[in-house]
Amino acid sequence: MDSISEKHIENGKTQFLMVLILGIITVFLSLFAMGQGSSSNLDMMSTINIILGLEAATELQSDIIWKLRFPRILMAIIGGAALAVAGSLMQGCLGNPLVSPLTLGVASGAALGAAFAIVLGVSVLPYSNLAIVANAFIFSLIVVAIIIQLGSLRSISAESYILVGIAITFISGAVVSTMQYFATDAQLSQLAHWSFGSLSRPDLIQVLWISIAVLVLMPTAMKWSWDLNALSIGGDEFAISTGVNPAETRRNMLILSAFMTSVVIAFTGLIGFVGLAAPHMSRLIIGNDYRKLIPCSAIFGAFLMVFADTLGRTLFAPIVIPVGIMLSIIGGPFFMYLLLANRGGKK
């Protein structure tokens, strides 16, 4: 075996080890998060004992652990992973490091749907308790479908999608602003609180449905990772020479990432930073190979989300700082540090 191959295998082992360690840290962090909360009835040890079946739980303790903390932490793991993978797909297929799952109008579509439900009381579903969620999900997909259609009409380049996305985002934003202008202060307040992004809203059943959707979509992303490699390494011409159809790949990736993002933010509200930063942080560990980058981003996204949410609900307990705000507060400086620490580096 030549020295280049040996070095490649060695690098691969190191990368695998680092991702494994990150995964183990995320699991332990999640367990730690399960033991953290405002309830004086449940300290860390009691929680662990109850989870392990070593201690009988009261009904209240059981409710807190399995109906409040567990769905929230599972949502953090699944939501973080989904948004991070969606971010890496977007960045890969559009060849732009600044895009995130929310760039292509998913956020503005979701906000538009939420505004229709909150301000106008218009819902795509007849069930009022799911009106905001259903509207946010459907509207975000509609907006992305329009963007993909218009982007395809203009040309098949990545820039077309981004430019059309920006235009549609502005239009959706204007409609939301108009509704806000005519909204009552109570409706305005609800819309603002919805947009903060929080993991507490979905219940266990909803989180399980979200998990199933994300886990079904994730292997599809892995399946297309080689096509993404071809696109990101040499652009459209290189991709064509390797038998990859750039237009089709781009469209499929956008639809997939839009689905993954919509299914999460419809329930959580807008959580933006993780989809932008987690893929970049993963690149610093794993490089640009999407076969490794996608799973690594998923783990990094889950880690970031669990960490931010746990900090947000324990730092000033019982006050909860919404996870979207917390992610930006702690993630922003950390992201900058990583980028500066690796400037001129091999990655």
Binding site: S38, E59, L60, L68, A186, H193, W194, S198, P318
Partner: protein, 368 residues
């Protein structure tokens, strides 16, 4: 060749002299304006701490919120002084005198239609002082240069209500009416205080009051600086989250479970309750059922004893003192068993709004 530098230096001296002269002129003008402003017979300080001086009571006033209009009614100020209102006065049964009054903005919180406002030619514009959705300073900076005084008053804070009523009373020379009103306030407060005075601190019902934004996210509770905290205290209760900073804040659901409140209250701004509103869609019960079904809430005392209620927005306005017996009776039913607390609400509408009270003002939880 030497002439040019000499001319430049003369020019510089001339420019400096001109600047000094103009500055002196501007200074003189501003001093004169201040003197003119200070020369009024009526001096009031609004809730932003801004002093206003008036030679006589204003005859043209623009108001944007119904609280200010209510206080103007309570003090028996002539309604024709109001020359501009907002769209909040849409209910012609409650505000018949403003049907033809020009609309100067869509609601109390929306942007001012400056041309409509200037057309109304008000001397005074009354605006919320501390409402987070109104930028009072920006409004002041915009309106005062065109000669419109911006008077910042809230009328929704318990500890400031009397002060703010006094400001309006002084502005319109209605001090006697204000004193009569305060006597009435004192009587109502005494009635409540006499009944709850004997309750020890530890026996007071512990209350959590949730903000309407709780409908979309984690529970948002009313905290330390909320007017509701003061009202709950006055009615003989104790807001569990009174020590948290700010007006409202997101709290962990576990914190409510841990606090195990005796009473769960909800700010009812988003519900179809209050004057002339009857919650015909039964949204109040739907909401309280949703709250009761939150994980772990079946063990909360308030849910077990069906002590959940949604309060209409009027309770947090100038009606707050007339609403105090109602709130106290909800917290201490046995102490106020013999008191017809509805009387105070009816009286408020008949006496100050000259209309019978109609509508649903409190929604209490009814277990199915």
């Amino acid at each position: 060749m030497d002439l040019i530098p000499m001319n430049i230096s003369k020019l510089a001296v001339f420019q400096a002299a001109l600047i000094l002269f103009c500055s002196f002129g501007v200074y003189q003008y501003s001093v004169q304006e201040e003197n003119d402003a200070d020369g009024g017979a009526i001096i009031i300080i609004d809730s932003n701490g801004v002093e206003h001086s008036f030679v006589e009571s204003p005859t043209r006033v623009a108001i944007t919120n119904t609280y200010a209009a209510t206080v103007i009614r309570m003090l028996d100020v002539e309604s024709d002084v109001i020359v501009g209102v907002s769209g909040d006065f849409y209910d012609s049964s409650l505000w018949p005198e403003f049907i033809d009054t020009p609309i100067i903005q869509q609601s109390a919180h929306s942007e001012i239609d400056f041309e409509a406002l200037l057309d109304a030619r008000p001397e005074v514009y009354i605006v919320f002082a501390t409402n987070g959705m109104v930028d009072t300073n920006a409004i002041r900076e915009k309106l005062e240069p065109v000669g419109i005084r911006v008077l910042a008053l809230d009328f929704y804070k318990y500890d400031n209500l009397r002060y703010e009523i006094n400001v309006i009373a002084k502005l319109f020379s209605k001090e006697k009416e204000a004193n009569d009103l305060f006597v009435e306030f004192d009587e109502i407060e005494s009635l409540v205080e006499d009944r709850i005075g004997g309750i020890s601190e530890t026996s007071r019902p512990r209350v959590v009051m949730e903000h309407h934004a709780s409908l979309t996210r984690d529970p948002v509770v009313l905290t330390g600086t909320s007017q509701w905290t003061d009202m709950i205290e006055k009615a003989g209760g104790k807001n569990i989250f009174a020590d948290l900073p700010g007006h409202t804040t997101h709290v962990d659901m576990e914190a409510i479970l841990d606090g195990n409140p005796d009473v769960l209250m909800f700010d009812g701004i988003t519900f179809d309750i209050g004057f002339n509103a009857f919650d015909e869609g039964n949204d109040c019960q739907t909401h309280m059922n949703f709250i009761a079904e939150r994980p772990g809430f079946d063990e909360v005392k308030a849910v077990q004893s069906d002590s959940m209620m949604i309060m209409s927005g009027e309770f947090a306005g100038p009606m707050m003192i007339h609403g105090l017996p109602t709130l106290a009776k909800l917290l201490h039913p046995s102490l106020f068993e013999d008191i017809d607390t509805e009387y105070y609400l009816d009286n408020y509408f008949i006496k100050y709004h000259d209309i019978d009270r109609v509508g649903k003002f409190v929604c209490e939880f009814e277990r199915v």
